[in-house]
């Protein structure tokens, strides 16, 4: 009888442990394995180019995914050794040249952030309205009443609802990206506006005092 009792108790204990771990895992789903990503200083498309070239030449066997992981690094090292380059696994100017690709010196994080903000704020709007949202952000950078960088303007507290609710982290589509580039290249369908709002959902009372310049889609653009 005693051994039976012991069995039941130990069984219960096991059950508790399993359940406990299960519940913990259920509430903390972030505990997942991620493949190591090596900081390569390359853009995703550049990494893809490197991977494609190395794959065609038989150095790389993984997938062309734009992620500079250990497999890609090993392939780069092998390529460097075979071509008399410093085998450090880093795609610098010389390695890039040997690969037959060019490295640009500057990434366009600003365009990407602008595209993300346009996508999050105006993805259902006509194309012109998307360019206008990008233009408002750039007009703010130039205005004395706002921060002086694209990052400063977009991340200014309470400035954009898409930052508060996290939608800024969605991946922009090609339309938003194109609209961001247009705004950066000087297109301004808002004609110098510093604000825009949807008159059906706007919550700030002061926004109504701003002079409306144009209406595009659902948005009023104002100064």
């Amino acid at each position: 009888m005693n051994s039976k009792l012991l069995k039941i108790i130990s069984l219960s204990m096991c059950l508790v442990m399993i359940l406990g771990v299960g519940v913990y895992k259920l509430v903390n789903p972030l505990d997942i394995q991620v493949e190591e990503v090596i900081a390569s200083g390359l853009t995703t498309s550049q990494v893809k180019t490197v991977q494609t070239k190395l794959k065609n030449w038989g150095y790389y066997t993984g997938t062309v995914d734009g992620i500079y992981g250990t497999k890609t690094k090993t392939a780069v090292v092998r390529f460097q050794k075979n071509n008399g380059l410093t085998a450090d696994g880093i795609v610098g100017t010389n390695t890039a040249r040997a690969l037959g690709m060019s490295l640009t010196t500057q990434t366009s994080n600003n365009v990407y952030l602008l595209a993300k903000c346009i996508y999050a704020e105006a993805r259902g709007e006509p194309y012109k309205g998307q360019v206008a949202v990008g233009a408002v952000i750039l007009n703010r950078v130039d205005s004395s009443s706002f921060p002086n960088s694209i990052y400063g303007v977009i991340y200014q507290p309470y400035a954009f609802t898409c930052v508060s609710d996290g939608q800024i982290n969605l991946s922009p589509d090609s339309n938003a990206y194109s609209a961001a580039n247009d705004a950066m290249n000087g297109w301004d369908p808002s004609y110098g506006a510093l604000y825009y709002y949807n008159p059906n959902t706007a919550t700030s009372s002061w926004i109504w005092s701003k002079k409306i310049l144009v209406t595009i889609g659902k948005h009023n653009f104002a100064l």
Partner: protein
Amino acid sequence: MKKLYLILTISLAVVLVGVVTAFGITFANTTNALGAYKSQLNYVYQQNFYELVDNVNNIESDLGKLSITTSSTNASKYLTNLSNTTSSAQDNISTLPIEHDSITDTIKFINQLGGFVYTKQTQIASGTALTLDDYDQIETLHDTSETIKYELNKLSVLVSSGNYSIVDNSQDPTNNESDFSSNWSGLNNGSVEYPTLIYDGPFSDSTTNKTIKGLSATELTATEAEVKVKEWFPDYTVKNDGEESGGDFDVYNFTLTKGDNTYYAEVTKRDGMLIQLNAGQTSNTKNKTLTDCEALAVSFATTLGYENMTVVWSTSSSNFAYINLAPTQNDVILYPDIIKVKVSQETGDIIGWEAQSWAYNHITRTNLTAGIELVEARLAVSSSLDVRASRLVLIPGEYVGEILAYEFICVYSGATYYVYVDASTGDECNVLKVIETDDGTLLM
């Protein structure tokens, strides 16, 4: 049987306790983590707030010193300090969780102060001492900075009192009267008297009002404008969306469609000029080279009646070509009147047009005669540069006016630079560098 029942009850109780404990630990962890994140955010806000107070204290003191100094060396020193503190104060203030309407006046004052300081630094560097008018403006700026300093220090007493948390007092972004914002109200216009600042520099109140020089008084009706649009875009179905008049330009809006593509064209009421064209058209391949696109842009400009347009800059980004065209007058390139054209590298279609600069600036210039010869201007360019091309151009002044200059396109250790030399004084007035990015070429 009774015993088994008891055992089962105990087991169940143990299981239950286990589950509750697991939940409890997780909940406690989450709450702890949330608390830690909140504290961390509060520290960031506090750090920025206190740094802002420090910066404003220093701004007030340096403006005071600047207002009484007679030495250019000291003036330069105080201006350099002010340049650093205003820039830092600007960074601090833009991270604070305050409703835009409450904080905008203070942000504007700090930006304008920075712009004013920059302008005076340039003035002293070019050998001109501060004038009596400058001292008057410095005095006004000093007065305002004293009031801001007083209000900020008052607020800092509140923020450092007890358990005041900026985070807790700014929790609800939809609440217009969040506490920290209303505590800030002592700094709004009305409590603090913010001056109107005019100087030849960034953020000056004078540069915000632009006048339209490029359009005549002749007005077109919507029907006349529609006829023009149909001439420019013969293959498209044109829909008249009516008139809009809010900004500087009164325009007629048109929606153009061809197959799946939608274009938005805007034509000015005065002169019937295509001022803007936007199209969300995809371009997936590069069938046209940048040179092809340049020719297409120039040809489209000719269709619209713009003769002798020169390609002054072009770049390609994700299969789109961006071409900048400028008119010439007496062989002088007029940069202030630039028109931007976007061309699809897949189809060669013109899918973007932006001519606001032209509408604002284009007039027949009266004085396009250089005071010095090209060879003379060439002397101002560093001899270590390899000059590849040179020409006479009209460029926009950094903040106001226009400057007639010689443009030298040079190469130095693999990089391309555009050097501008004032065609009347022979002084180098601007340098731009060509920068390759993963999204096209920039001139900065």
